[in-house]
Symmetry: C2
Subunit: 254 residues, 2 copies
């Protein structure tokens, strides 16, 4: 069974300028792996209309799912939603249910908030969307075709993703097993590791040196959808590391 | 004066799977802004030959500089270097100076280390490279055309970048000024902020809500190469936030 694939678009000048450390990639990569929709590519792009429209159209044709983060707030630099409409060639118009939710939210505030033009933008969406609930700050995300449009603020994005997740149909989940050995050098194990990788062509076996005060080592991670093969490959790595004079330990280094 | 542009390729399954939190994007984005070579796009791609070759060729034609991180170690999943050779259509062959450095390094170890086939891979490079020194772990990175190939481990990457930086010719540095106000909501200031942005078309004015225990607020950042305009725009934002009933403070929130 082939797993569906995913691409993440991180939209925002603040990530490209170094102002903001992205915290969404790791969360989504992990959750998508668990769900069985492995992340195949990530792009970080600026708040520039032609770039967003062109990139969305390129990647939505290439991957089964596209997730976007950022650019759906009320300010002038929040242009993701209107760019999605342009990419799909549909009108960008008030979305009745989102409008109702936001309008009544501001009316309920004491004193009543102003459902002004800027806030109305958050209820304006491409025609034909399905809303993604936002239990944190109300203004919803949306799915348009195979593109899932979410907020950039991590805890809002995470809440939106968990609202969306039950509707996503994944392949077999990706599982992994790690082995690490302090003091063992990557260059010492590289050739034998290539042999182990060759014996498990369906797994992804990665080697990651690490550095710690007082010395480092190397961690090896086997990953794939066949959990028996993953366990056996990790076992083979452990036996091989021992043969290289290392003292391997199961799991990732602390 | 137009600034040269940069693209970053983060190469590695470990970032796409969520195993590893990338720490290179923020560093490079910040340093490239200071040098005056703003980062325009980032892609995270897997250790897959066709993907690396195709992506390198696409982005090196589009941007003045391409920086890559990851995939230049000794193991089977370290394929960046040979992919760069393929992308440029040149042989991948022993690089004499890199070879000399690594060979003598392992010969000097007690007991002498083995300059084995895996380690020799780290001294095998596309024909025509210029080496990038590595004061941390010796094995050099390299520049091929407008593509700068660096390690993925953050402190090695940072050392390589600082070795490379004096050779990079940037435009005017990007400077920024921030203002923030606790308790002020983004939707309240959005329209006035769009007016300020319209008055400074050469600046990038971004609005970023933040959340803290006990309440959040909004931070606004003005960015550009004209430092007087940046200061004046930040001042305008501060005055405007005050008019909205906020108590703005210069700088980013803690």
């Amino acid at each position: 069974m082939t797993s569906p694939t995913a691409c993440l678009l991180i939209i925002g000048n603040e990530v490209l300028s170094g102002r903001t450390q992205d915290a969404n990639l790791k969360f989504l990569a992990t959750r998508l792996g668990e769900i069985g929709i492995p992340l195949r590519e990530v792009r970080v792009i600026p708040d520039v209309r032609a770039t967003i429209v062109g990139t969305v159209n390129e990647v939505r044709a290439k991957y089964d799912h596209v997730f976007t983060t950022g650019g759906i707030g009320p300010t002038h630099d929040d242009i993701t939603s209107e760019c999605i409409a342009e990419a799909f060639g549909v009108p960008w118009e008030p979305q009745p249910e989102a409008w109702r939710r936001l309008e009544s939210h501001y009316a309920r505030q004491t004193p009543p908030g102003d459902f002004n033009a800027a806030r109305q933008r958050m209820a304006t969406m491409p025609r034909g969307v399905v809303l993604i609930d936002n239990v944190i700050s109300l203004a919803p995300g949306f799915t348009m075709g195979n593109v899932h449009v979410m907020a950039g603020v991590p805890r809002i994005m995470q809440a939106m993703f968990e609202a969306l997740a039950p509707t996503l149909k994944g392949g077999p989940p990706v599982v992994s097993a790690a082995v690490h050995a302090n003091g063992l050098m990557e260059g010492r194990i590289a050739e034998g590791l290539a042999d182990i990788q060759a014996r498990y062509p369906d797994l992804d076996i990665g080697s990651y040196p690490y550095y710690r005060p007082g010395g480092g080592g190397v961690a090896v991670v086997a990953k794939g959808t066949d959990s028996d093969a993953v366990k056996q490959a990790a076992r083979d790595v452990l036996v091989f590391m021992r043969a290289c004079g290392g003292q391997p330990i199961e799991g990732e280094p602390d």
